[in-house]
């Protein structure tokens, strides 16, 4: 039929004439638009999948997380590559803590650096027990993943989600445990809960809050309760304590940070109050000096405690707060009008952060008539003064040998973070190797809890902060190290600290593996 020769619809009507330039069907007209839409869709899907804007939360060292971690990340990356290319069985252990953080945060950038350094040391020496390039016979080999939970640990959700994926049995990352975890805060508790829900075992490095607990959470630091007990044990040995009586009582006073989300400070205060005997000769009154470090005017509130202290004139002040509050408190104390009375201030391991000689200016002025003691989580001085309280082999790797801490890194060990992180990773490694067998040299995350349960007085972990094992006894919660060594440190006005004693919950820390009971 030629153009326009359609049959007319009815008689006497001409058929509809054919168009001069027939319209193209819409799908032909839209040809190039459809191609553009498809290309844009594909690109969008690719970009969404790539997500260049999303922050890397977990890395094997190949993604730079912070400038100050560049060197140690490089070491970890190299070791990880060697592990994978070795052809030997291997598993991954993640070191999770706030890494992208600031100097104002409770978790400071240098804390993260020390943690990662300690983790690397544990990885290296576990893979190379002889301190050379060769891998040892222990299986599996260890690969370290660095996991960032962001500023103050608040971005933990993405991190935990990624770790959850990596811990699945069919995932190539072969994640079996998470170590580190950060400070005792609400965010840490939430992250721990989430990891526990995914069945991942954890080993906390500096978690001390007594109440911070979850299934599968173990820790290498003493609880605040242990720290308080150790401190009271130390005070009990002093002459003032011993000479106290009902007529001349040994009086104490508690200054308490009421920051709602800081489990550590709340718990520390509670434990001081719980451990202190209050037997008539030793008095800790219910009245206490409160402040909130998370609110404006915290400094003024701390300084206002001075008047109370001068009127009450206690022998000891328990300070349940973080280092920034302690700094303010000490400066206020040094200017008190009742400086004729000597005051002893004791606090927890949070004071570690004041132990920095590079800080300008003294913490208090001469003649302030102050003694400041704190319980630390670890101290290198322990290695010299209390040689039985630590494993010599482990201490060796912090020394001056090739691939030892002091050669690899320039950071000091005084604050204890590197030691605690090392011990946490070492505990996780020990657990992984405890459940590995010839038949199953590469355990899954699910099995690690049994490896942790195998760490006991007979088979303790030779931690650099002291011998570590877990034993449920006397109401001690699951996962808490039994009678963990607690260094008693004296802080000096110039910011330095020296170990005054080594205590523990019982007063005497473990001295190595015990024969089976």
């Amino acid at each position: 039929m030629t153009e326009g020769q359609a049959v007319s619809p009815e008689p006497d009507k001409l058929p509809q004439p054919g168009p001069i330039n027939p319209r193209r069907p819409w799908y032909r007209k839209l040809g190039w638009q459809i191609i553009i839409v498809m290309v844009v869709t594909i690109l969008t899907a690719a970009v969404l999948s790539w997500s260049p804007w999303s922050t890397v939360r977990v890395t094997d060292g190949s993604d730079p997380l912070a400038d100050n971690l560049r060197e140690v990340q490089g070491l970890i990356l190299d070791e990880n590559k060697r592990v994978i290319s070795s052809g030997r069985p291997w598993v991954s252990i993640a070191v999770m803590l706030p890494i992208r953080t600031t100097d104002e945060a409770r978790n400071k950038p240098e804390d993260a650096l020390r943690h990662i350094q300690g983790a690397y040391l544990a990885q290296y020496w576990s893979n190379h027990p002889n301190g050379d390039d060769k891998f040892g016979d222990n299986a599996p080999l260890i690969r370290i993943l660095i996991a960032d939970t962001g500023y103050e640990g608040l971005e933990w959700r993405d991190t935990v989600a990624q770790l959850g994926e990596m811990a699945k049995p069919d995932n190539n990352e072969r994640l079996v445990a998470v170590a580190g975890l950060g400070l005792s805060t609400d965010a840490t508790q939430q992250a721990v809960n989430a990891l526990a829900n995914k069945g991942i075992s954890m080993v906390g490095s500096v978690i001390t809050a007594t109440g911070l607990a979850a299934t599968g959470l173990f820790r290498v630091a003493p609880t605040n309760s242990d720290e308080a007990a150790a401190m009271v044990n130390y005070l009990e040995d002093t002459q003032e304590w011993k000479s106290a009586s009902a007529t001349t009582p040994y009086e104490a006073y508690l200054v308490q940070d009421r920051a709602g989300d800081d489990t550590y400070v709340q718990d520390l205060g509670n434990q001081y109050r719980r451990i202190f005997p209050n037997d008539g000769a030793h008095i800790l009154p219910q009245a206490q000096g409160d402040y909130n470090s998370q609110k404006e005017g915290a400094g003024n509130a701390i300084a206002a405690q001075i008047a109370t202290i001068c009127s009450f004139r206690p022998r000891v002040v328990f300070f349940a707060g973080r280092s920034d509050g302690l700094r303010t408190f000490l400066r206020a104390l040094s200017a008190r009008y009742c400086s004729d009375t000597r005051i002893t201030v004791v606090t927890g391991d949070g004071a570690n952060n004041l132990n920095d000689p590079t800080e300008t200016g003294p913490l208090w002025v001469d003649g302030a008539n102050l003694d400041v003691f704190y319980t630390a989580l670890a101290s290198p001085e322990t290695w010299q003064n209390h040689s039985t309280a630590v494993s010599r082999d482990t201490v060796h790797r912090f020394g001056q040998c090739t691939d030892c801490f002091s050669v690899l890194f320039s950071e000091p060990l005084d604050e204890g973070d590197a030691i605690m992180s090392h011990d946490a990773v070492l505990t996780a490694i020990t657990a992984a190797r405890n459940v590995a067998s010839q038949q199953n040299p590469q355990p899954t995350a699910d099995a690690i809890i049994n490896g942790l349960y195998q760490i006991n007085a007979t088979n303790p972990v030779p931690g650099a902060s002291g011998w570590l094992y877990f034993q449920r006894e006397g109401g001690i919660p699951d996962g808490v190290p039994y009678n963990k060594a607690v260094p008693i440190m004296q802080l000096h006005s110039n910011g330095t600290a020296s170990q005054e004693d080594l205590s523990s919950r019982s007063g005497t820390p473990p001295a190595g593996p015990e024969p089976p009971r």
Partner: protein, 630 residues
């Protein structure tokens, strides 16, 4: 498109339009003709335009507009231009987009409903106000919207007031007017004013011209130029097709005015406009009459013959360009009647029946061919009706509807004379024998395109209608034909004389004349003369053709009992033959062609009696014998 595929008898126009609408047309020099379809009422001009419009309707990238100038006969060129612009702007053309007419809009705002002060300054201010009006009316809604929005954002009240004041200030400022209409104002300034900044001054001038009758044409010229330049703007990017304007009844004043101004602009520059106009009279287009002659006009030096649809093409138009640059803008096409084949083709497409009957009746006049079919309907035109009943349909149609339609706009004073003229074989004889009744009837017929080639004759279908009217008065019928017969005799026009004698029903002298002619003429010439004479009209008798033939033969008187000599035999044969052919030649007299065999028998008997030309007469007999009853 193949010849006659959808527009029988008019396909050349379709091809011409298609060539013009494509850009650039093959062999084109860039300029486009204004195609003017010329044809009497009912010749199918509007059908052609509608058909071509339909071809554009289903097309991509072809903006078009159809306007019937007769629909609003009081329209001016200005109004027509605006209507065309509005119609083109109203659509979003597939594959093309919307056509915008900013210059036309500016001109309309400047002149319509506003007569400006004679002094320039107040006139300019009034014009600015007028130009501001279209968007000032939107200021209040905008202010309301902005106020609500800012309030919702708790912006201080003083700040909202400041924003509102700014909006009103901007909307009301002269600068805003000039910015909004910048393009158009600049065009008017550069094109007609002294500088790009004088656009507003020129629009004031345009307003004055528009409101002065003696300068209105100048204003319309400016508007049309604005229209064309606006259109050109839309064609600055690559376009495969031009824009089409279909202008029906362009002989109305707005139409001719528009086309004349367009031709004037085209003499200076080309444009992307294909204009297909149609006119039922000779339109008053500048240079058309002096450059083109219609089919019934004699050849004249310097004038081209207006082609019929079969002979139109874009190429031939270029070969035929004539006259001044203005006259060369036109390309007239005369819509002749359809041929029998074309009508058959047309009926086939429309699924109609009996085209031959209709063709015999309406002489290929397109409108009548379709109207008579509608009245008769297919069933009525079939063999189910008696001849008498059948005759009533076209006879009634011819007497009433067709007459009213075709003669609708003829001044009543001309009609009685025209009815008389219909009796004559050509209008020259009619005018000489019957007079023109005091008016220039011949010019009127030429103007209305009511003539056909030859000696100029009245269009056969129109003539049949008029003869029907004349036949209603028997006395007048005889009187007119007698006067024409006498005049013919005086002038020695024997065929005409015999023709009118037969029309008066006087067979004996006609038969005698033909017997006489038979004696010395060759067969071809005689048949030709016989046909010419027996084409004479007859008044309807109300009888069937056979009965009427019998009656006419009976009037000859009884035949002698003895053997007849050859002369008597020939005379008897011719008597019957003349009567039969006279009745047959009037389609209303023998609608079913029932006398064809009688005529064929007459020719056969004539061949037997003829010494010379018998073969020719037998051939003629065969023609009638084989004639198809429709």
């Amino acid at each position: 498109m193949p010849e006659g595929a959808t527009l029988p008898g008019r396909s050349g126009i379709d091809a011409l339009f298609t060539d013009c609408i494509r850009r650039p047309a093959e062999g084109s020099t860039g300029d486009l003709p204004v195609i003017v379809l010329l044809g009497m009422r009912g010749s199918g001009k509007t059908w052609v335009l509608e058909y071509l419009k339909g071809r554009c309707e289903g097309s991509d990238a072809i903006p078009y507009v159809f306007a019937d100038c007769a629909a609003q006969p009081d329209n001016s060129v200005w109004q027509l231009s605006c209507e065309l612009a509005d119609a083109l702007h109203a659509e979003r053309w597939p594959g093309f987009g919307r056509l915008n007419f900013p210059r036309v809009t500016l001109a309309r705002l400047a002149v319509e409903h506003l007569k400006l002060d004679e002094n320039l300054a107040p006139a300019q201010e009034a014009l600015r106000k007028k130009l501001r009006a279209p968007f000032v009316q939107h200021v209040d809604p905008v202010v309301g919207l902005v106020t609500n929005l800012l309030s919702a954002l708790s912006i201080p009240q003083w700040m909202i007031s400041a924003v509102v004041w700014s909006i009103r200030f901007i909307a009301g400022s002269n600068r805003t007017v000039e910015r909004l209409y910048r393009r158009g104002l600049k065009w008017y300034g550069v094109k007609f004013g002294r500088s790009a900044n004088s656009g507003l001054s020129f629009l004031v001038e345009l307003n004055r011209r528009y409101h002065r009758d003696d300068q209105r044409k100048l204003a319309e010229s400016v508007l049309l130029e604005a229209f064309i330049d606006d259109l050109k703007d839309a064609f600055t990017r690559r376009r495969d097709f031009n824009c089409a304007i279909f202008l029906d009844n362009c002989d109305d004043s707005a139409g001719t005015g528009f086309l004349n101004l367009l031709a004037e602009l085209r003499s200076r520059d080309s444009d992307p406009l294909v204009v297909m106009a149609a006119s039922r009279t000779r339109p008053d287009l500048i240079g058309l009459d002096s450059s083109w002659s219609l089919p019934w006009e004699p050849d004249q030096p310097g004038k081209l013959r207006v082609p019929n649809p079969n002979k139109t093409s874009y190429t031939s138009r270029h070969d035929d360009r004539v006259g001044t640059s203005l006259a060369s803008s036109w390309y007239p096409v005369h819509l002749r009647d359809l041929t029998g084949d074309e009508l058959r083709q047309d009926y086939k497409l429309r699924r109609l029946y009996h085209p031959d009957f209709v063709y015999r009746f309406a002489a290929g006049h397109p409108w009548s061919a379709h109207r008579v079919h509608k009245l008769g309907a297919s069933g009525a035109l079939a063999n189910t009706l008696s001849e008498t009943e059948l005759l009533n349909i076209p006879a009634k149609f011819a007497r009433q509807e067709a007459a009213e339609y075709l003669l609708a706009d003829l001044p009543t004073t001309f009609r009685p004379t025209l009815v008389q003229w219909s009796a004559a074989r050509d209008i020259g004889v009619a005018a000489a024998a019957l007079g023109d009744g005091g008016g220039d009837l011949q010019s009127e017929l030429e103007k209305r395109l009511w003539l056909v080639p030859g000696d100029p004759r009245l269009h056969p279908w129109l003539r049949r209608i008029l003869l029907r009217e004349l036949a209603e008065d028997a006395e007048r019928w005889s009187q007119v034909h007698r006067r024409l017969c006498d005049y013919a005799a005086q002038q020695g026009r024997l065929i005409d004389a015999a023709y009118h004698e037969l029309a008066c029903g006087e067979l004996p002298p006609v038969v005698d004349h033909l017997v006489k002619q038979l004696g010395w003429m060759d067969a071809d010439s005689w048949i030709q003369e016989f046909d010419a004479v027996t084409d004479a009209p007859s008044r309807a008798s109300g009888e069937t053709p056979v009965k009427r033939h019998e009656r006419l033969v009976f009037e000859r008187g009884p035949l002698d009992d003895g053997p007849l000599d050859q002369n008597a035999r020939v005379r008897n044969i011719l008597w019957s033959l003349v009567a039969a052919r006279w009745i047959w030649s009037d389609q209303l007299g023998d609608p079913k062609v029932s006398l064809k065999d009688t005529i064929a028998d007459g020719y056969a008997r004539l061949a037997d009696e003829s010494r010379a030309g018998s073969a020719r007469y037998r051939r003629e007999a065969r023609v009638y014998r084989e004639m198809r009853p429709w």
